[in-house]
């Protein structure tokens, strides 16, 4: 069943330019110091860019911190804990930063010797930042049918923006926000909210979003 929206939905797309900060960590202590000091854009870069760059991998690899801690520092327990952080529960990058610091500090407290164990030269953690560019696309949906068509046509970068970045930068650009407030479809909004974008590839995510809308259009 099609629904007309009170306000049209503008699809955006986004890209990142990655900056090198010239800072690196050769042990856990230095990583902790870095996590505390780097700008929030860097926290974003290190917790999200893996999702984009390795989007075809299934299961998804974890974030940069978890990857380095597990594969280079070879601290599997800490790596697993960092990889397991549910990023969806945080509404700000500051909160993600605080949680990362908490977990690493806790690990160091339990195993102080591990904090200064150095990795071999050349395998240090390199801190990076990002500048995000957001562009409006040609795709605008006035109703649920058009929304489904747009979802099927936009790039994965656009899906990425609305699912991962809008919650952090532009709440009103979340799909679920528009579905709830403009289409006034509580059921579909809830289905969108409940999708965990961090545990599937972008291609799958897009496919699942289209499927949810199609089912709704069929009146189910």
């Amino acid at each position: 069943m099609n629904r007309i929206a009170k306000e049209p939905f503008q699809f955006f797309t986004r890209q990142n330019l990655t900056y090198l900060l010239g800072k690196k960590a050769k042990n856990l202590n230095a990583l902790l110091t870095g996590i505390k000091e780097i700008p929030l854009a860097s926290i974003y870069q290190h917790t999200h860019h893996f999702l984009e760059q390795h989007e075809y991998l299934s299961p998804e690899p974890p974030n940069d911190f978890a990857y380095w801690i597990t594969n280079v520092l070879q601290n599997n327990a800490l790596g697993e804990e960092i990889a397991g952080i549910d990023l969806r529960q945080f509404s700000s990058l500051k909160d993600i930063q605080v949680r990362l610091v908490e977990i690493v500090e806790n690990s160091i407290q339990h195993d102080p010797e591990s904090a200064n164990r150095n990795v071999p030269a050349g395998e240090e953690f390199h801190f990076m930042g990002a500048q995000t560019f957001v562009f409006p696309t040609q795709y605008i949906a006035n109703d649920l049918m058009e929304f489904k068509q747009c979802l099927g046509s936009v790039s994965n970068y656009s899906i990425y923006y609305h699912m991962f970045e809008a919650p952090l930068f532009q709440e009103k650009s979340r799909f679920c926000y528009w579905i709830q407030n403009s289409l006034e479809d509580e059921k579909l909004a809830l289905a969108f909210k409940n999708l965990d974008p961090y545990t599937q590839t972008l291609d799958n995510l897009k496919h699942n979003l289209v499927r949810l809308v199609r089912v709704r259009l069929e009146g189910k």
Binding site: T13, Y19, G22, Q131, F133, V134, F135, N156
Partner: protein, 407 residues
């Protein structure tokens, strides 16, 4: 040469549409690329394809090459080696020659781009014209900067910090600088002669031309004859493996006009190869892209046993052809290969020989690595991604310091 829309079947319509969207924000901007050679080497290869594609997108891009004599290129080759960490001593005359050649180019060249895009150390001194003409200036470093010789680094740093922004190809190359450092990996062109699909007859013809047996396993390293590519190490790897597995080795590469050392390295490799009929040393002319493509496609395994590497475009080329690749974990190579997922990363001759035996004896494993590698390249190392990053960088020049830009 391919136009932008010919990439659509490879990368998707959505990607092409978005490139047009970014370009629409850069209408009327001119970008002047400057490097030191029009032929040979990764920089020229990228610019040959990149500049026309930027034009297709409506950006006024053009490309010029500095002039320098043989002695100048000997100095810049030493500089290149020093930046890769080799201990090199420069005389005052050599440094003076570097400065004078740059000054001569500053005087003689028409530096008219709104954005001046300077590649590598050779033309770095053109920045001295900035005070007079203004414009935005970008310096791109294509080489491995992870352990540069301090003297050479400090000499170049004085120039680098006069630019608006610098670009490096891998995170390990970042330095402490007063200007922003952007990470942009280079790329390959899937439609170029070096990477496009080839019919089997073409591949067979190339093998016949070089008298390589297509019925026996072929192990290949494609790169310039350069100490830093460790061709002698590759011969040692091959000899360790051939004791157990029948195979042939192809070491093939061209020369670049800014690399005077190639002939000497080739002679040394010829000496240790000692007329072994299963080792093929091929010094290819610049017009050999189809031959290189065919050799990569005919290979059972591709090696890139570099000691130092800026990025290692030959790795992306081989991965794009879905070949199993064994490469040194240096420079930008770890960005291209997730170890044991899209290829194998090694550090030593022994480790490389072990990995090579493993792949030659388990072709199914090699095939899976190749499939994953090709997909990784499709998403991250094709020229369309490179175009995107350059356009974002151009846009960023007017928005320094902002984390999120709504355009």
């Amino acid at each position: 040469m391919a136009n932008l829309y010919e990439y659509e079947p490879i990368v998707g319509k959505d990607v092409i549409n978005e490139l047009e969207l970014y370009a629409s924000k850069l209408a009327n901007v001119s970008v002047q690329h400057i490097n030191s050679t029009a032929v040979g080497g990764g920089v020229a290869e990228i610019l040959i394809r990149m500049v026309p594609l930027l034009k297709d997108l409506g950006i006024n891009a053009f490309w010029d090459v500095i002039k320098g004599g043989e002695k100048f290129y000997e100095v810049t080759k030493k500089m290149h080696n020093a930046l890769h960490g080799q201990k090199v001593l420069f005389s005052k005359d050599e440094m003076d020659l570097f400065i004078q050649t740059n000054e001569m180019n500053v005087r003689d060249m028409d530096l008219g781009g709104d954005i001046m895009f300077i590649h590598d150390p050779q033309p770095i001194g053109l920045i001295s014209r900035r005070k007079e003409i203004g414009h935005k200036w970008i310096w791109r470093c294509h080489i491995d900067f992870s352990r540069p010789d301090p003297f050479t680094w400090n000499f170049l740093k004085k120039y680098i910090e006069q630019y608006d922004v610098s670009i490096f190809s891998a995170p390990a190359f970042a330095r402490e600088l007063t200007i922003p450092q952007v990470l942009i990996a280079p790329s390959i062109d899937p439609l170029s002669d070096k990477n496009k699909d080839l019919p089997q007859e073409t591949i067979d013809t190339v093998l016949e031309k070089f008298k390589i047996d297509k019925n026996r396993p072929i192990v290949t390293q494609i790169s310039r004859f350069d100490y830093l590519k460790d061709p002698k190490g590759v011969v040692q790897v091959f000899r360790k493996v051939r004791k157990y597995i029948d195979c042939q080795l192809v070491l093939a590469g061209g020369g670049a006009t800014d690399d005077p050392e190639g002939a000497k390295v080739l002679a040394e490799v010829q000496e240790i190869a000692a007329n072994d009929p299963d080792i093929f040393l091929l010094l290819l002319p610049p017009s050999s892209d189809i031959e290189i493509n065919a050799l990569q496609r005919a290979s059972s395994v591709v090696l890139q046993k570099s000691l130092r590497e800026g990025f290692g475009l030959t790795v992306a080329e081989a991965l794009w052809k879905a070949k199993p690749v064994i490469a040194s974990s240096v420079g930008g190579i770890p960005l291209q290969i997730a170890n044991r997922y899209s290829g194998l990363l090694t550090h030593t001759i022994e480790g490389t020989a072990f990995a090579l035996k493993q792949l030659l004896q388990n072709p199914t494993y090699g095939q899976q690595l190749g499939i994953n590698g090709r997909e990784h390249v499709r998403k991250n190392f094709l020229i369309t991604r490179h175009l995107r990053d350059y356009m974002l960088l151009f846009l960023s020049l007017d928005h320094k310091g902002k984390d999120v830009l709504f355009l």
